[in-house]
Protein backbone atom coordinates (compact mmCIF):
# COMPACT_ATOMS: atom_id res chain seq x y z
CA UNK A 1 0.00 0.00 0.00
CA UNK A 2 1.19 3.48 -0.79
CA UNK A 3 2.76 5.16 2.24
CA UNK A 4 0.78 8.37 2.33
CA UNK A 5 -2.44 6.50 1.59
CA UNK A 6 -1.83 4.23 4.59
CA UNK A 7 -1.22 7.26 6.78
CA UNK A 8 -4.36 8.94 5.48
CA UNK A 9 -6.47 5.86 6.22
CA UNK A 10 -5.04 5.79 9.74
CA UNK A 11 -6.04 9.43 10.20
CA UNK A 12 -9.58 8.69 9.06
CA UNK A 13 -9.91 5.73 11.43
CA UNK A 14 -8.61 7.82 14.31
CA UNK A 15 -11.01 10.70 13.60
CA UNK A 16 -14.21 8.75 12.93
CA UNK A 17 -15.13 7.64 16.49
CA UNK A 18 -14.47 11.17 17.77
CA UNK A 19 -16.65 12.64 15.05
CA UNK A 20 -19.59 10.27 15.61
CA UNK A 21 -19.61 10.74 19.38
CA UNK A 22 -19.16 14.52 19.09
CA UNK A 23 -21.99 14.93 16.58
CA UNK A 24 -24.35 13.08 18.91
CA UNK A 25 -23.34 15.16 21.91
CA UNK A 26 -23.73 18.30 19.80
CA UNK A 27 -27.43 17.57 19.31
CA UNK A 28 -27.82 16.80 23.02
CA UNK A 29 -26.21 20.09 24.01
CA UNK A 30 -28.17 22.01 21.38
CA UNK A 31 -31.31 20.82 23.17
CA UNK A 32 -29.95 22.28 26.39
CA UNK A 33 -28.70 19.13 28.09
CA UNK A 34 -25.08 18.57 29.08
CA UNK A 35 -24.33 14.86 29.18
CA UNK A 36 -20.82 14.28 30.48
CA UNK A 37 -21.36 10.53 30.25
CA UNK A 38 -20.15 10.20 26.64
CA UNK A 39 -17.19 8.09 27.74
CA UNK A 40 -19.45 5.73 29.69
CA UNK A 41 -21.96 5.34 26.86
CA UNK A 42 -19.14 4.82 24.39
CA UNK A 43 -17.45 2.09 26.39
CA UNK A 44 -20.82 0.34 26.87
CA UNK A 45 -21.34 0.51 23.12
CA UNK A 46 -17.90 -1.00 22.63
CA UNK A 47 -18.54 -3.97 24.91
CA UNK A 48 -22.09 -4.60 23.67
CA UNK A 49 -21.01 -4.37 20.04
CA UNK A 50 -18.13 -6.75 20.58
CA UNK A 51 -20.18 -9.22 22.62
CA UNK A 52 -23.00 -9.51 20.11
CA UNK A 53 -20.72 -9.61 17.08
CA UNK A 54 -18.65 -12.30 18.80
CA UNK A 55 -21.66 -14.43 19.66
CA UNK A 56 -23.51 -14.06 16.37
CA UNK A 57 -20.58 -13.51 14.01
CA UNK A 58 -22.40 -10.56 12.49
CA UNK A 59 -20.90 -7.09 12.74
CA UNK A 60 -24.22 -5.61 11.64
CA UNK A 61 -25.94 -7.05 14.71
CA UNK A 62 -22.93 -5.88 16.72
CA UNK A 63 -23.41 -2.33 15.49
CA UNK A 64 -27.10 -2.58 16.39
CA UNK A 65 -26.24 -3.75 19.90
CA UNK A 66 -23.71 -0.94 20.31
CA UNK A 67 -26.33 1.64 19.36
CA UNK A 68 -28.89 0.01 21.65
CA UNK A 69 -26.46 -0.01 24.61
CA UNK A 70 -25.76 3.68 24.05
CA UNK A 71 -29.46 4.48 23.93
CA UNK A 72 -30.13 2.45 27.09
CA UNK A 73 -27.40 4.31 28.97
CA UNK A 74 -28.63 7.68 27.74
CA UNK A 75 -32.23 6.82 28.63
CA UNK A 76 -31.05 6.18 32.18
CA UNK A 77 -29.33 9.56 32.13
CA UNK A 78 -32.51 11.13 30.74
CA UNK A 79 -34.61 9.54 33.49
CA UNK A 80 -32.29 10.91 36.17
CA UNK A 81 -31.87 14.42 34.81
CA UNK A 82 -35.11 15.07 32.91
CA UNK A 83 -37.70 13.15 34.91
CA UNK A 84 -36.09 13.24 38.35
CA UNK A 85 -34.41 16.60 37.64
CA UNK A 86 -31.04 15.50 39.01
CA UNK A 87 -27.95 17.63 38.47
CA UNK A 88 -26.74 17.00 34.91
CA UNK A 89 -23.03 17.33 35.63
CA UNK A 90 -23.14 14.88 38.52
CA UNK A 91 -25.38 12.43 36.66
CA UNK A 92 -23.13 12.57 33.59
CA UNK A 93 -20.01 11.83 35.61
CA UNK A 94 -21.83 8.99 37.36
CA UNK A 95 -22.85 7.62 33.97
CA UNK A 96 -19.21 7.51 32.91
CA UNK A 97 -18.19 5.68 36.08
CA UNK A 98 -21.09 3.27 35.71
CA UNK A 99 -20.27 2.60 32.08
CA UNK A 100 -16.59 1.92 32.76
CA UNK A 101 -17.37 -0.43 35.65
CA UNK A 102 -20.31 -2.22 34.11
CA UNK A 103 -18.56 -2.74 30.78
CA UNK A 104 -15.65 -4.33 32.65
CA UNK A 105 -18.05 -6.72 34.34
CA UNK A 106 -19.95 -7.62 31.18
CA UNK A 107 -16.78 -7.84 29.15
CA UNK A 108 -14.83 -10.07 31.51
CA UNK A 109 -15.75 -13.19 29.54
CA UNK A 110 -14.73 -11.56 26.27
CA UNK A 111 -11.21 -10.48 27.15
CA UNK A 112 -8.81 -12.28 24.87
CA UNK A 113 -11.48 -13.51 22.46
CA UNK A 114 -10.82 -12.96 18.77
CA UNK A 115 -12.84 -10.09 17.37
CA UNK A 116 -14.92 -9.85 14.23
CA UNK A 117 -13.83 -7.03 11.95
CA UNK A 118 -16.28 -4.90 10.07
CA UNK A 119 -16.00 -5.29 6.28
CA UNK A 120 -14.01 -2.58 4.56
CA UNK A 121 -14.18 -0.98 1.15
CA UNK A 122 -10.82 0.20 -0.24
CA UNK A 123 -9.53 0.03 3.34
CA UNK A 124 -12.31 2.26 4.62
CA UNK A 125 -14.82 0.94 7.15
CA UNK A 126 -18.50 1.25 6.32
CA UNK A 127 -18.96 3.61 9.23
CA UNK A 128 -16.62 6.24 7.78
CA UNK A 129 -18.91 7.39 4.93
CA UNK A 130 -21.81 6.99 7.35
CA UNK A 131 -20.17 9.41 9.81
CA UNK A 132 -19.87 12.02 7.05
CA UNK A 133 -23.51 11.55 6.07
CA UNK A 134 -24.46 11.78 9.72
CA UNK A 135 -22.63 15.10 10.07
CA UNK A 136 -24.27 16.51 6.95
CA UNK A 137 -27.65 15.21 8.07
CA UNK A 138 -27.38 16.73 11.52
CA UNK A 139 -26.20 20.04 10.06
CA UNK A 140 -29.17 20.06 7.70
CA UNK A 141 -31.79 19.07 10.26
CA UNK A 142 -30.52 21.43 12.95
CA UNK A 143 -30.30 24.53 10.78
CA UNK A 144 -32.60 23.98 7.81
CA UNK A 145 -35.68 22.27 9.20
CA UNK A 146 -38.39 23.07 11.69
CA UNK A 147 -37.38 20.07 13.82
CA UNK A 148 -33.94 21.63 14.20
CA UNK A 149 -35.42 24.98 15.03
CA UNK A 150 -37.52 23.40 17.78
CA UNK A 151 -34.52 21.52 19.22
CA UNK A 152 -32.51 24.73 19.29
CA UNK A 153 -35.41 26.65 20.76
CA UNK A 154 -35.68 24.14 23.58
CA UNK A 155 -31.95 24.57 24.20
CA UNK A 156 -31.98 28.32 24.08
CA UNK A 157 -35.09 29.09 26.08
CA UNK A 158 -36.96 26.15 27.47
CA UNK A 159 -39.62 28.34 29.10
CA UNK A 160 -40.47 30.04 25.79
CA UNK A 161 -40.57 26.73 23.96
CA UNK A 162 -42.81 25.35 26.67
CA UNK A 163 -45.07 28.40 26.48
CA UNK A 164 -45.38 27.85 22.74
CA UNK A 165 -46.64 24.38 23.41
CA UNK A 166 -43.55 22.29 22.66
CA UNK A 167 -42.98 19.32 24.89
CA UNK A 168 -39.57 20.31 26.22
CA UNK A 169 -38.93 17.15 28.22
CA UNK A 170 -39.92 14.83 25.38
CA UNK A 171 -37.74 16.70 22.89
CA UNK A 172 -34.83 16.57 25.29
CA UNK A 173 -35.36 12.86 25.87
CA UNK A 174 -35.17 12.21 22.14
CA UNK A 175 -32.08 14.38 21.75
CA UNK A 176 -30.35 12.68 24.68
CA UNK A 177 -31.15 9.27 23.20
CA UNK A 178 -29.86 10.35 19.79
CA UNK A 179 -26.63 11.34 21.54
CA UNK A 180 -26.57 7.98 23.28
CA UNK A 181 -27.04 6.16 19.99
CA UNK A 182 -24.12 8.06 18.46
CA UNK A 183 -21.86 7.48 21.48
CA UNK A 184 -22.74 3.78 21.46
CA UNK A 185 -22.02 3.60 17.74
CA UNK A 186 -18.68 5.34 18.24
CA UNK A 187 -17.83 2.75 20.90
CA UNK A 188 -18.90 -0.03 18.57
CA UNK A 189 -16.62 1.41 15.93
CA UNK A 190 -13.71 1.01 18.36
CA UNK A 191 -14.40 -2.62 19.20
CA UNK A 192 -15.50 -3.68 15.71
CA UNK A 193 -13.35 -1.69 13.31
CA UNK A 194 -10.61 0.37 14.96
CA UNK A 195 -9.16 -2.34 17.21
CA UNK A 196 -11.51 -5.34 16.80
CA UNK A 197 -11.25 -6.76 20.30
CA UNK A 198 -12.54 -6.08 23.76
CA UNK A 199 -10.25 -4.70 26.44
CA UNK A 200 -11.43 -2.88 29.53
CA UNK A 201 -11.29 0.89 29.23
CA UNK A 202 -10.61 0.63 25.52
CA UNK A 203 -12.16 4.05 24.86
CA UNK A 204 -9.19 5.53 26.77
CA UNK A 205 -10.66 9.01 27.15
CA UNK A 206 -12.03 9.46 23.63
CA UNK A 207 -15.44 10.41 25.04
CA UNK A 208 -13.89 13.35 26.82
CA UNK A 209 -12.11 14.50 23.67
CA UNK A 210 -15.44 14.34 21.81
CA UNK A 211 -17.03 16.47 24.53
CA UNK A 212 -14.29 19.06 24.25
CA UNK A 213 -14.58 19.09 20.45
CA UNK A 214 -18.24 20.10 20.69
CA UNK A 215 -17.42 23.13 22.82
CA UNK A 216 -14.42 24.23 20.79
CA UNK A 217 -16.41 23.80 17.58
CA UNK A 218 -18.93 26.19 19.14
CA UNK A 219 -21.79 23.71 18.66
CA UNK A 220 -21.51 23.74 14.82
CA UNK A 221 -21.53 20.33 13.04
CA UNK A 222 -19.13 21.22 10.23
CA UNK A 223 -16.61 22.74 12.64
CA UNK A 224 -16.86 19.56 14.68
CA UNK A 225 -15.94 17.64 11.55
CA UNK A 226 -12.94 19.90 10.96
CA UNK A 227 -11.93 19.56 14.60
CA UNK A 228 -12.15 15.76 14.66
CA UNK A 229 -10.16 15.37 11.44
CA UNK A 230 -7.59 17.94 12.51
CA UNK A 231 -7.18 16.16 15.83
CA UNK A 232 -6.75 12.81 14.08
CA UNK A 233 -4.37 14.23 11.50
CA UNK A 234 -2.08 15.93 13.96
CA UNK A 235 -1.92 12.87 16.25
CA UNK A 236 -1.03 10.53 13.41
CA UNK A 237 1.41 12.93 11.74
CA UNK A 238 3.07 13.22 15.13
CA UNK A 239 3.72 9.47 14.98
CA UNK A 240 5.01 9.74 11.41
CA UNK A 241 7.45 12.47 12.43
CA UNK A 242 8.59 10.35 15.38
CA UNK A 243 9.18 7.25 13.27
CA UNK A 244 11.44 9.32 11.03
CA UNK A 245 13.70 9.86 14.04
CA UNK A 246 14.04 13.62 13.70
CA UNK A 247 14.46 14.01 17.43
CA UNK A 248 11.52 16.29 18.10
CA UNK A 249 10.44 15.71 21.73
CA UNK A 250 7.61 13.14 21.72
CA UNK A 251 5.88 14.85 24.65
CA UNK A 252 5.54 17.94 22.49
CA UNK A 253 4.19 15.91 19.58
CA UNK A 254 1.71 14.17 21.89
CA UNK A 255 0.31 17.45 23.13
CA UNK A 256 0.23 18.97 19.65
CA UNK A 257 -3.20 17.56 18.60
CA UNK A 258 -4.83 19.28 21.57
CA UNK A 259 -3.01 22.56 21.03
CA UNK A 260 -3.53 22.71 17.26
CA UNK A 261 -7.18 21.70 17.44
CA UNK A 262 -7.99 24.28 20.09
CA UNK A 263 -6.14 27.05 18.27
CA UNK A 264 -7.68 26.16 14.92
CA UNK A 265 -11.21 25.98 16.24
CA UNK A 266 -10.81 29.21 18.18
CA UNK A 267 -9.65 30.89 14.98
CA UNK A 268 -12.52 29.40 12.96
CA UNK A 269 -14.98 30.49 15.63
CA UNK A 270 -13.47 33.93 15.17
CA UNK A 271 -16.10 36.43 16.11
CA UNK A 272 -16.76 36.20 19.82
CA UNK A 273 -20.32 37.41 19.58
CA UNK A 274 -21.17 34.70 17.05
CA UNK A 275 -19.66 32.06 19.32
CA UNK A 276 -21.76 33.24 22.20
CA UNK A 277 -24.80 33.25 19.99
CA UNK A 278 -24.13 29.58 19.26
CA UNK A 279 -23.91 28.57 22.91
CA UNK A 280 -27.23 27.03 23.94
CA UNK A 281 -28.49 29.48 26.54
CA UNK A 282 -30.16 26.80 28.66
CA UNK A 283 -27.19 24.39 28.58
CA UNK A 284 -27.13 22.18 31.68
CA UNK A 285 -30.19 23.87 33.17
CA UNK A 286 -32.93 21.62 34.46
CA UNK A 287 -36.44 22.33 33.30
CA UNK A 288 -39.50 21.98 35.48
CA UNK A 289 -42.71 23.03 33.77
CA UNK A 290 -44.72 25.57 35.77
CA UNK A 291 -47.90 23.66 35.33
Amino acid sequence: MDQSLAVMLTIITAATPLLIAAIGELVVERSGVLNLGVEGMMVMGAVAGFAVAFMTGSTLLGVGAAIFAGIAMSALFGFLTLTLVANQVAAGLALTLLGLGLSGLIGEAFVGQPGVKMPTLFGIDALVPFSLLLTAGVAYVLFRTKTGLVIRAVGNSHSSAHALGYRVIAIRYLSVMFGGACAGLAGGYLSLAYTPQWIENMTAGRGWIALALVVFASWRPLRTLVGAYLFGAVSILGFVVQSMGLGIPSQFLSSLPYIVTIIALVIISGNKRLTQANTPACLAQSFVPDR
Binding site: L102, L105, Y194, I199, E200, N201, F239, S243, G245, S250
Partner: protein, 355 residues
Protein backbone atom coordinates in the same frame (compact mmCIF):
# COMPACT_ATOMS: atom_id res chain seq x y z
CA UNK B 1 -18.62 -2.92 38.71
CA UNK B 2 -16.02 -5.17 40.22
CA UNK B 3 -14.26 -2.02 41.22
CA UNK B 4 -17.43 -0.59 42.69
CA UNK B 5 -18.10 -3.77 44.63
CA UNK B 6 -14.57 -3.74 45.90
CA UNK B 7 -14.79 -0.12 46.87
CA UNK B 8 -18.00 -0.92 48.69
CA UNK B 9 -16.27 -3.79 50.43
CA UNK B 10 -13.38 -1.59 51.47
CA UNK B 11 -15.81 1.02 52.71
CA UNK B 12 -17.74 -1.62 54.63
CA UNK B 13 -14.59 -2.84 56.29
CA UNK B 14 -13.65 0.72 57.12
CA UNK B 15 -16.99 1.18 58.84
CA UNK B 16 -16.44 -1.99 60.81
CA UNK B 17 -19.30 -3.74 59.08
CA UNK B 18 -17.32 -6.34 57.25
CA UNK B 19 -14.77 -7.36 59.85
CA UNK B 20 -15.74 -10.72 61.20
CA UNK B 21 -13.60 -12.83 63.49
CA UNK B 22 -12.17 -14.93 60.70
CA UNK B 23 -11.33 -11.91 58.56
CA UNK B 24 -9.54 -10.27 61.44
CA UNK B 25 -7.17 -13.23 61.53
CA UNK B 26 -6.33 -13.01 57.84
CA UNK B 27 -3.25 -11.12 56.73
CA UNK B 28 -4.38 -8.37 54.40
CA UNK B 29 -2.35 -7.92 51.22
CA UNK B 30 -3.30 -5.22 48.75
CA UNK B 31 -2.43 -4.32 45.19
CA UNK B 32 -2.95 -1.26 43.06
CA UNK B 33 -2.80 -1.51 39.29
CA UNK B 34 -2.26 1.24 36.75
CA UNK B 35 -4.56 -0.39 34.16
CA UNK B 36 -7.62 -2.60 34.22
CA UNK B 37 -7.08 -6.26 35.19
CA UNK B 38 -8.64 -7.08 31.85
CA UNK B 39 -5.88 -5.38 29.87
CA UNK B 40 -4.51 -8.76 28.86
CA UNK B 41 -1.02 -7.51 29.68
CA UNK B 42 0.83 -5.79 32.51
CA UNK B 43 -1.91 -5.39 35.12
CA UNK B 44 -3.42 -8.74 34.17
CA UNK B 45 -0.14 -10.46 35.00
CA UNK B 46 0.13 -8.72 38.37
CA UNK B 47 -3.37 -9.91 39.14
CA UNK B 48 -2.36 -13.43 38.16
CA UNK B 49 0.40 -13.04 40.76
CA UNK B 50 -2.17 -11.96 43.34
CA UNK B 51 -4.30 -15.00 42.52
CA UNK B 52 -1.24 -17.20 42.99
CA UNK B 53 -0.92 -15.77 46.51
CA UNK B 54 -4.57 -16.63 47.23
CA UNK B 55 -4.11 -20.12 45.83
CA UNK B 56 -1.01 -20.69 47.96
CA UNK B 57 -2.08 -19.15 51.27
CA UNK B 58 -5.87 -19.62 51.15
CA UNK B 59 -7.74 -18.37 54.22
CA UNK B 60 -4.63 -17.04 55.88
CA UNK B 61 -4.61 -14.11 53.51
CA UNK B 62 -7.19 -11.57 52.43
CA UNK B 63 -6.40 -9.75 49.20
CA UNK B 64 -7.74 -6.51 47.86
CA UNK B 65 -6.94 -4.80 44.60
CA UNK B 66 -7.74 -1.46 43.03
CA UNK B 67 -7.42 -1.21 39.28
CA UNK B 68 -7.19 1.76 36.90
CA UNK B 69 -5.41 3.99 39.37
CA UNK B 70 -4.14 7.17 37.74
CA UNK B 71 -0.52 7.72 38.60
CA UNK B 72 -0.70 11.41 39.57
CA UNK B 73 -3.27 11.03 42.35
CA UNK B 74 -2.48 7.50 43.41
CA UNK B 75 -1.43 8.62 46.91
CA UNK B 76 -5.08 8.91 47.94
CA UNK B 77 -5.74 5.34 46.88
CA UNK B 78 -2.60 4.02 48.56
CA UNK B 79 -3.39 5.90 51.75
CA UNK B 80 -6.95 4.58 51.79
CA UNK B 81 -5.65 1.03 51.55
CA UNK B 82 -3.14 1.66 54.33
CA UNK B 83 -5.87 3.08 56.56
CA UNK B 84 -8.12 0.14 55.80
CA UNK B 85 -5.76 -2.31 57.39
CA UNK B 86 -3.61 -3.53 54.52
CA UNK B 87 -0.44 -4.98 56.02
CA UNK B 88 1.45 -5.11 52.77
CA UNK B 89 0.73 -3.00 49.70
CA UNK B 90 2.10 -3.67 46.23
CA UNK B 91 2.11 -0.61 43.97
CA UNK B 92 2.68 -1.90 40.48
CA UNK B 93 3.71 0.95 38.22
CA UNK B 94 6.74 3.20 37.94
CA UNK B 95 4.66 6.35 38.39
CA UNK B 96 3.47 5.17 41.82
CA UNK B 97 6.99 5.66 43.21
CA UNK B 98 6.74 9.08 44.88
CA UNK B 99 3.15 8.57 46.10
CA UNK B 100 4.19 5.23 47.63
CA UNK B 101 7.11 6.82 49.48
CA UNK B 102 4.92 9.67 50.65
CA UNK B 103 2.27 7.38 52.12
CA UNK B 104 4.87 4.94 53.48
CA UNK B 105 6.36 7.70 55.61
CA UNK B 106 2.97 8.11 57.32
CA UNK B 107 2.43 4.40 57.96
CA UNK B 108 5.70 2.95 59.29
CA UNK B 109 4.00 -0.34 60.29
CA UNK B 110 2.69 -1.09 56.81
CA UNK B 111 5.02 -2.76 54.32
CA UNK B 112 5.15 -1.24 50.85
CA UNK B 113 6.46 -2.87 47.72
CA UNK B 114 6.92 -0.70 44.65
CA UNK B 115 7.40 -2.31 41.26
CA UNK B 116 9.95 -0.98 38.76
CA UNK B 117 11.16 1.97 40.84
CA UNK B 118 14.51 2.71 42.43
CA UNK B 119 13.83 4.51 45.72
CA UNK B 120 13.55 2.53 48.94
CA UNK B 121 12.77 3.34 52.58
CA UNK B 122 12.82 1.22 55.79
CA UNK B 123 9.31 0.02 54.93
CA UNK B 124 9.52 0.35 51.15
CA UNK B 125 11.03 -2.33 48.95
CA UNK B 126 11.43 -2.12 45.21
CA UNK B 127 11.08 -5.10 42.95
CA UNK B 128 11.35 -5.60 39.25
CA UNK B 129 12.15 -8.21 36.70
CA UNK B 130 14.92 -8.26 34.12
CA UNK B 131 12.64 -7.84 31.15
CA UNK B 132 15.60 -6.76 29.06
CA UNK B 133 16.71 -10.41 29.09
CA UNK B 134 13.59 -11.29 27.13
CA UNK B 135 14.06 -8.31 24.85
CA UNK B 136 17.51 -9.54 23.89
CA UNK B 137 15.93 -12.82 22.76
CA UNK B 138 13.19 -11.12 20.74
CA UNK B 139 15.82 -8.84 19.17
CA UNK B 140 17.52 -11.90 17.73
CA UNK B 141 14.22 -13.31 16.49
CA UNK B 142 13.23 -9.98 14.93
CA UNK B 143 16.50 -9.68 13.03
CA UNK B 144 16.08 -13.22 11.69
CA UNK B 145 12.43 -12.79 10.72
CA UNK B 146 12.46 -9.28 9.26
CA UNK B 147 12.64 -8.96 5.49
CA UNK B 148 13.08 -5.19 5.46
CA UNK B 149 15.67 -5.28 8.25
CA UNK B 150 13.60 -2.77 10.21
CA UNK B 151 11.52 -3.19 13.33
CA UNK B 152 8.90 -0.77 14.59
CA UNK B 153 9.05 -0.21 18.33
CA UNK B 154 6.15 1.34 20.26
CA UNK B 155 7.16 2.64 23.65
CA UNK B 156 5.50 4.32 26.58
CA UNK B 157 7.75 6.63 28.57
CA UNK B 158 11.51 7.29 28.50
CA UNK B 159 12.32 5.59 31.82
CA UNK B 160 15.43 3.44 32.31
CA UNK B 161 13.53 0.14 32.15
CA UNK B 162 12.10 1.00 28.73
CA UNK B 163 15.39 2.36 27.40
CA UNK B 164 17.26 -0.73 28.62
CA UNK B 165 14.63 -2.78 26.77
CA UNK B 166 15.26 -0.95 23.50
CA UNK B 167 19.03 -1.34 23.95
CA UNK B 168 18.83 -5.04 24.78
CA UNK B 169 16.58 -5.57 21.77
CA UNK B 170 19.06 -3.84 19.48
CA UNK B 171 22.08 -5.65 20.94
CA UNK B 172 20.29 -8.95 20.36
CA UNK B 173 19.30 -7.97 16.82
CA UNK B 174 22.83 -6.83 16.00
CA UNK B 175 24.25 -10.28 16.81
CA UNK B 176 22.22 -11.50 13.81
CA UNK B 177 22.21 -8.45 11.54
CA UNK B 178 24.70 -5.69 12.40
CA UNK B 179 22.81 -3.19 10.22
CA UNK B 180 19.41 -3.86 11.78
CA UNK B 181 17.30 -0.73 12.09
CA UNK B 182 14.58 0.25 14.52
CA UNK B 183 11.96 2.97 14.19
CA UNK B 184 10.66 4.22 17.52
CA UNK B 185 7.36 5.85 18.43
CA UNK B 186 6.77 7.14 21.94
CA UNK B 187 3.04 6.81 22.57
CA UNK B 188 3.33 8.60 25.94
CA UNK B 189 0.82 6.22 27.46
CA UNK B 190 0.95 2.73 28.95
CA UNK B 191 -2.49 1.78 27.76
CA UNK B 192 -4.54 3.20 24.89
CA UNK B 193 -5.45 0.50 22.36
CA UNK B 194 -6.48 3.02 19.69
CA UNK B 195 -3.32 5.06 19.96
CA UNK B 196 -1.13 1.98 20.02
CA UNK B 197 -2.91 0.69 16.91
CA UNK B 198 -2.35 4.03 15.18
CA UNK B 199 1.35 3.93 16.03
CA UNK B 200 1.54 0.35 14.75
CA UNK B 201 -0.08 1.28 11.43
CA UNK B 202 2.25 4.24 10.99
CA UNK B 203 5.32 2.11 11.73
CA UNK B 204 4.26 -0.56 9.24
CA UNK B 205 3.61 2.11 6.61
CA UNK B 206 7.13 3.42 7.16
CA UNK B 207 8.80 0.16 6.24
CA UNK B 208 8.93 -1.78 9.50
CA UNK B 209 7.72 -5.36 9.21
CA UNK B 210 8.11 -6.53 12.83
CA UNK B 211 6.39 -4.77 15.71
CA UNK B 212 7.78 -4.59 19.23
CA UNK B 213 5.85 -2.91 22.01
CA UNK B 214 6.57 -1.63 25.47
CA UNK B 215 2.98 -0.54 25.97
CA UNK B 216 0.39 -2.79 27.51
CA UNK B 217 -2.48 -3.41 25.11
CA UNK B 218 -2.84 -6.12 22.52
CA UNK B 219 -3.72 -3.69 19.73
CA UNK B 220 -0.31 -3.52 17.97
CA UNK B 221 -0.15 -7.31 17.65
CA UNK B 222 -3.61 -7.31 16.17
CA UNK B 223 -2.59 -4.75 13.56
CA UNK B 224 0.42 -6.92 12.73
CA UNK B 225 -1.92 -9.87 12.22
CA UNK B 226 -4.28 -7.81 10.07
CA UNK B 227 -1.46 -6.76 7.76
CA UNK B 228 0.26 -10.13 7.67
CA UNK B 229 3.25 -8.95 9.70
CA UNK B 230 4.74 -10.17 13.00
CA UNK B 231 5.03 -8.93 16.54
CA UNK B 232 5.75 -9.85 20.13
CA UNK B 233 3.43 -10.02 23.13
CA UNK B 234 4.08 -7.75 26.06
CA UNK B 235 3.99 -8.90 29.70
CA UNK B 236 1.54 -11.68 28.95
CA UNK B 237 1.06 -14.42 26.37
CA UNK B 238 -1.14 -12.63 23.81
CA UNK B 239 -1.42 -15.56 21.43
CA UNK B 240 -5.24 -15.56 21.60
CA UNK B 241 -5.32 -12.03 20.15
CA UNK B 242 -2.98 -12.69 17.25
CA UNK B 243 -2.45 -16.40 16.60
CA UNK B 244 -0.76 -15.76 13.25
CA UNK B 245 1.34 -12.78 14.29
CA UNK B 246 2.77 -13.43 17.74
CA UNK B 247 6.27 -14.85 17.50
CA UNK B 248 6.63 -15.10 21.26
CA UNK B 249 5.94 -12.93 24.29
CA UNK B 250 7.95 -11.80 27.27
CA UNK B 251 5.81 -13.09 30.12
CA UNK B 252 6.02 -11.58 33.59
CA UNK B 253 5.57 -14.14 36.30
CA UNK B 254 5.04 -12.32 39.58
CA UNK B 255 3.43 -15.17 41.58
CA UNK B 256 6.57 -16.65 43.15
CA UNK B 257 7.79 -13.24 44.29
CA UNK B 258 4.43 -12.20 45.75
CA UNK B 259 4.08 -15.46 47.67
CA UNK B 260 7.60 -15.07 49.06
CA UNK B 261 7.01 -11.49 50.20
CA UNK B 262 3.55 -11.98 51.67
CA UNK B 263 4.88 -14.94 53.63
CA UNK B 264 7.82 -12.84 54.83
CA UNK B 265 5.35 -10.17 55.95
CA UNK B 266 3.28 -12.74 57.83
CA UNK B 267 6.11 -14.29 59.77
CA UNK B 268 7.91 -11.02 60.43
CA UNK B 269 11.03 -11.65 58.36
CA UNK B 270 10.22 -8.88 55.88
CA UNK B 271 13.04 -6.42 55.32
CA UNK B 272 13.49 -3.60 52.86
CA UNK B 273 15.41 -4.64 49.78
CA UNK B 274 15.82 -4.13 46.06
CA UNK B 275 14.77 -7.28 44.28
CA UNK B 276 15.57 -7.85 40.63
CA UNK B 277 14.82 -11.33 39.38
CA UNK B 278 15.15 -12.53 35.84
CA UNK B 279 15.01 -15.65 33.74
CA UNK B 280 17.20 -17.51 36.23
CA UNK B 281 14.62 -17.09 39.00
CA UNK B 282 11.65 -17.78 36.69
CA UNK B 283 10.36 -14.21 36.96
CA UNK B 284 10.75 -13.66 33.21
CA UNK B 285 9.67 -16.42 30.87
CA UNK B 286 9.03 -16.63 27.14
CA UNK B 287 5.74 -17.71 25.59
CA UNK B 288 6.07 -20.67 23.19
CA UNK B 289 7.98 -19.75 20.02
CA UNK B 290 5.50 -19.76 17.15
CA UNK B 291 5.06 -18.66 13.54
CA UNK B 292 8.80 -19.00 12.86
CA UNK B 293 11.08 -21.57 11.19
CA UNK B 294 12.60 -24.23 13.43
CA UNK B 295 16.14 -22.87 13.22
CA UNK B 296 15.01 -19.47 14.50
CA UNK B 297 13.07 -21.08 17.34
CA UNK B 298 16.11 -23.18 18.18
CA UNK B 299 18.39 -20.14 18.27
CA UNK B 300 15.94 -18.29 20.51
CA UNK B 301 15.61 -21.24 22.89
CA UNK B 302 19.40 -21.55 23.12
CA UNK B 303 19.80 -17.84 23.87
CA UNK B 304 17.05 -18.07 26.48
CA UNK B 305 18.74 -21.06 28.12
CA UNK B 306 22.12 -19.32 28.15
CA UNK B 307 20.65 -16.22 29.80
CA UNK B 308 18.82 -18.34 32.39
CA UNK B 309 22.02 -20.25 33.10
CA UNK B 310 23.94 -17.00 33.54
CA UNK B 311 26.44 -17.71 30.77
CA UNK B 312 25.05 -14.95 28.57
CA UNK B 313 24.36 -11.42 29.73
CA UNK B 314 22.61 -9.04 27.30
CA UNK B 315 24.71 -6.08 28.43
CA UNK B 316 28.19 -7.49 28.13
CA UNK B 317 30.91 -4.93 27.53
CA UNK B 318 32.26 -3.27 25.60
CA UNK B 319 29.09 -1.55 24.42
CA UNK B 320 29.22 1.38 22.02
CA UNK B 321 26.75 4.12 22.82
CA UNK B 322 24.88 6.11 20.21
CA UNK B 323 27.34 9.01 20.62
CA UNK B 324 30.29 6.69 19.98
CA UNK B 325 31.61 6.42 23.54
CA UNK B 326 32.23 2.96 24.92
CA UNK B 327 31.03 1.60 28.26
CA UNK B 328 31.74 -1.62 30.11
CA UNK B 329 34.85 -3.74 30.36
CA UNK B 330 35.43 -6.37 27.74
CA UNK B 331 33.69 -9.61 28.63
CA UNK B 332 32.06 -8.22 31.77
CA UNK B 333 28.39 -7.36 32.15
CA UNK B 334 27.28 -3.89 33.15
CA UNK B 335 26.39 -3.56 36.82
CA UNK B 336 22.76 -3.64 37.92
CA UNK B 337 23.08 0.02 38.86
CA UNK B 338 24.22 0.96 35.37
CA UNK B 339 21.25 -0.85 33.82
CA UNK B 340 18.83 0.57 36.40
CA UNK B 341 19.89 4.09 35.51
CA UNK B 342 20.24 3.64 31.78
CA UNK B 343 19.59 6.91 29.96
CA UNK B 344 21.45 6.42 26.69
CA UNK B 345 20.92 4.49 23.47
CA UNK B 346 23.30 1.95 22.02
CA UNK B 347 24.80 2.55 18.60
CA UNK B 348 22.38 1.76 15.79
CA UNK B 349 19.26 3.18 17.40
CA UNK B 350 18.01 5.83 15.04
CA UNK B 351 16.15 8.05 17.48
CA UNK B 352 16.89 10.88 19.86
CA UNK B 353 16.07 10.11 23.47
CA UNK B 354 13.29 12.38 24.77
CA UNK B 355 14.65 14.32 27.70
Amino acid sequence: MKKLLMTAAVAAVALGLGSTASLAEAYKACWIYVGPVGDGGWSFQHDEGRKAVVAELGDKVETVFVENVAEPDSDRTIERLARDGCKIIFTTSFGFMEPTLKVAAKFPDVKFEHATGYKTAPNVTTYNSKFHEGRYVIGQIAAKMSKTGTAGYIVSFPIPEVIAGINAFMLGAQTVNPDFKVKIIWANTWFDPGKEADAAKVLLSQGADILVQHTDSTAPLQIAQEQGKFGFGQASDMMAFAPKAQLTAIVDSWGPYYIKRVKAGMDGTWTSQQSWDGMAEGAVTMAPYANMPDDVAKMAAETQAAIAAGTLHPFTGPITKQDGTVVGESGKPLSDGEIHGMNWYVKGVDDKLPQ
